[in-house]
Symmetry: C2
Subunit: 442 residues, 2 copies
């Protein structure tokens, strides 16, 4: 029996027969006659503490603790009897408590029973009590998966030779022709919050060829839906020297498959809490938007306006694709020019359409992308055709004066991916502290 | 001789004897009689193309290209004679051009000769022509190192069990007691841009124990210095169940050493362009601020006001530490309470001081951190003592009601690290598209 430094619960089974020191939260306390059992929780897992009656000091402290008390415990790591069916897995251990100290205690009762398997709160309550609710295993699991998603994106981008950039979020002008910009007071003048890193990613094409950014995106859209928030984390990429938009889709397909695979491998416990599975790595079908609209008409008797697909149509087409090809994802391609920003590359065979795509995942658009215009003359013509002012795009047009290769890229919504992996009712559940039209706190 | 798919310059030496297709920028063209040599550049490196006179079509195109033209070339990969002293390294290759196509061309002359070893521009010109200047190898190197720095931070954090979080940048109130917030118009009300993820990181302490964030930080400071920008990328971390602030410094020390090591290993070419070396992994000295001020007085005859060290003092103390201990970094500890935010943990032995630190690197403060207050009563007392309104901190105080472990963390400025590694004159050189009081473009 040797004295040990502090360890984590997840590593306790490596120290059977030794005395260890652990710190964590009391998950549940259970009294059995003179024995007290405490389930202790830290970031690495849960573990049972046993307080024997021959330890009067520890017993006194143990009688005082309740759920969510913070404690430090010193004790002997003992192997627990192996349960049937659990043979071969890491040995289950418990701690025979020698010393117990209270490190912190909640003020009164928690507003939520965070030890419940499922919190079953309405969205507003869940978000109002966000910090407390996060102590619940099922809620916390969302953000453990989210952290893994960010790592996976970073990993696949770097493996593909992409350079990570950080671009400014405060802009001089509300470009991109959109109205959905937040205005800010910037010293003695007005400025705007970036609603995408589009222009700066494209500027990177003349230098790095391949860039990616993980960054905040601000959208002043007055939406009240299950799929919109006003601030989110965009996973952006742009790649140069492409032959066509197909190169962009191939890269995004590879990216999605890598992210799903890594989450599937590393987050099985978290996925299990939602009975969720990540999509299989099957080829993602590509269909033209116009063809998708015909399918909607034929299969679902649904007509759309303005050649544009709506949320319901996106759900239907995903259902159809899943049924016919087995894929949870689908690329809709060749959006009409009137639905796309001025920098979208027109199709050569019919400039009414563009070399663009949306990527849908289980009924929801999660990414938008395409090939971009890379010549100054084509770009200025496109800006004027959209009725925008050339003066507003001076710095942007300058990017292309000295030769930028054919390129394209995407903007991918990180939270929507997690929302659809776990089948969450609202994207707000997948954002740590979401912002919407009404919510700026906590 | 077999036909090949497109390859990168950096991989050409793996295809000796094969025909490959390459795309890139013309770095320089040189004519030698009837022979034309083109140095081609892509994201992976540079390579020589040789256009022989017996290829009249390719020669015609080659005569047209100038620096920064975009071309696609098809040709045979041939080994070049090994230079003395280069034996054993990857074989040098060149391309005997079969076919040359112009993919894109600059409009007129570039405003800068980007092929120069050193651009030698003043800062304003460099930033006005930022996108063009980035084509220069030495300028681009800054951001290749920066990308590696971000990867290294992510890597060391995850290895330490930290969960990556993304916290909101739009806040309801200008908290933290600072005046340096940008105000934004948020639908029908006012809001503010976050000047740190402090409160949300601390909220994470009740859940994840260890969190990190790589995110945009907005500071409405009207500074005109070589070390301030109004928007930067913060490398934040917070860790729970600490024994003291020393645990935080140990973790930050490990983090810095990992980042320096990875940059040293992977960016030797980029560092070489600046004749720069990353710091050696020696132990970082910790000295109390009061002791540092005594050293300034004794060694440099420098007096400070308000018990606060200034920029000059930071440079002097780094010089002194380097001389006496060999370290490029130093922790200054125990800042007086009047210089630190209300959430700083007071020292037990003398509450005039705090359990906080700044980390200086080659004369510049790159990080600020410390242990935080984690009890509600101590926190409310501290807020009132600073003359702040409790009402403004309701959500923040709520975090601590249900038990948060002793914790601390840091905010680290990513761009300042690169600035000091490369000894750049201004932090603005280390920001892709910097924002200052006067600059919002490009």
């Amino acid at each position: 029996m040797k004295a040990m430094e502090r360890t984590l619960i997840g590593e306790a089974s490596q120290h059977i027969g030794a005395v260890v020191k652990l710190r964590g939260w009391v998950h549940i306390r259970r009294d059995h006659g003179k024995l007290i059992f405490i389930e202790l929780r830290d970031r690495s897992g849960k573990l049972q503490l046993v307080v024997l009656p021959d330890k009067p000091a520890a017993t006194l402290v143990a009688k005082e603790v309740r759920s969510e008390f913070l404690v430090e415990v010193t004790g002997l790591v003992k192997e627990r009897p192996v349960k049937a069916g659990q043979e071969g897995v890491a040995p289950a251990v418990e701690i025979e408590v020698d010393k117990l100290i209270i490190v912190g205690r909640p003020e009164g009762e928690l507003p939520i029973d965070v030890s419940a398997l499922d919190l079953d709160l309405n969205l507003e309550t869940l978000l109002n009590y966000r910090t407390v609710a996060l102590r619940n295993d099922k809620v916390r699991a969302i953000f453990e998966i989210y952290s893994e998603l960010l790592a996976a994106y970073d990993e696949v981008m770097r493996a593909g030779g992409f350079v990570e950039i950080k671009t400014p979020k405060i802009l001089e002008a509300a470009t991109e022709g959109g109205a959905n910009f937040f205005k800010i007071k910037y010293f003695d003048r007005d400025a705007f919050l970036a609603q995408s890193p589009q222009f700066y990613k494209q500027a990177g094409m003349s230098v790095f060829e391949r860039v990616f950014e993980i960054g905040t995106v601000f959208r002043a859209e007055p939406h009240f839906t299950t799929r919109h928030v006003n601030e989110y984390t965009g996973l952006d990429a742009e790649l140069g020297f492409i032959d066509s938009v197909e190169d962009v889709m191939v890269e995004l397909e590879k990216t999605m498959q890598h992210m799903f695979r890594r989450i599937g491998e590393r987050c099985s416990a978290q996925l299990g809490r939602y009975e969720a599975v990540v999509p299989e790595a099957v080829a993602i079908p590509r269909i033209r938007l116009s063809e998708a609209l015909q399918i909607l008409k034929k299969e679902y008797n649904k007509e759309v306006e303005n050649e544009d697909i709506d949320g319901e149509g996106e759900r239907m087409i995903c259902e159809y694709i899943k049924k016919t090809s087995g894929s949870d994802l689908v690329f809709l391609t060749h959006y009409p020019a009137h639905l796309r920003p001025f920098y979208s590359m027109p199709s050569v065979d019919d400039p009414k359409y563009t070399e663009t795509f949306d990527l849908l995942f289980r009924g929801l658009e999660i990414a938008s992308g395409g090939q971009r215009i890379h010549s100054v003359s084509q770009l200025t013509a496109s800006i004027e055709k959209k009725g925008l002012r050339l003066d507003d795009f001076k710095h942007y047009i300058d990017i292309f004066r000295f030769g930028v290769p054919p390129h394209g890229g995407w903007g991918l919504g990180s939270e929507r991916i997690v929302q659809k992996i776990l089948n969450l009712g609202s994207i707000k559940e997948a954002v740590l502290y979401p912002r919407d039209v009404k919510r700026l706190a906590p």
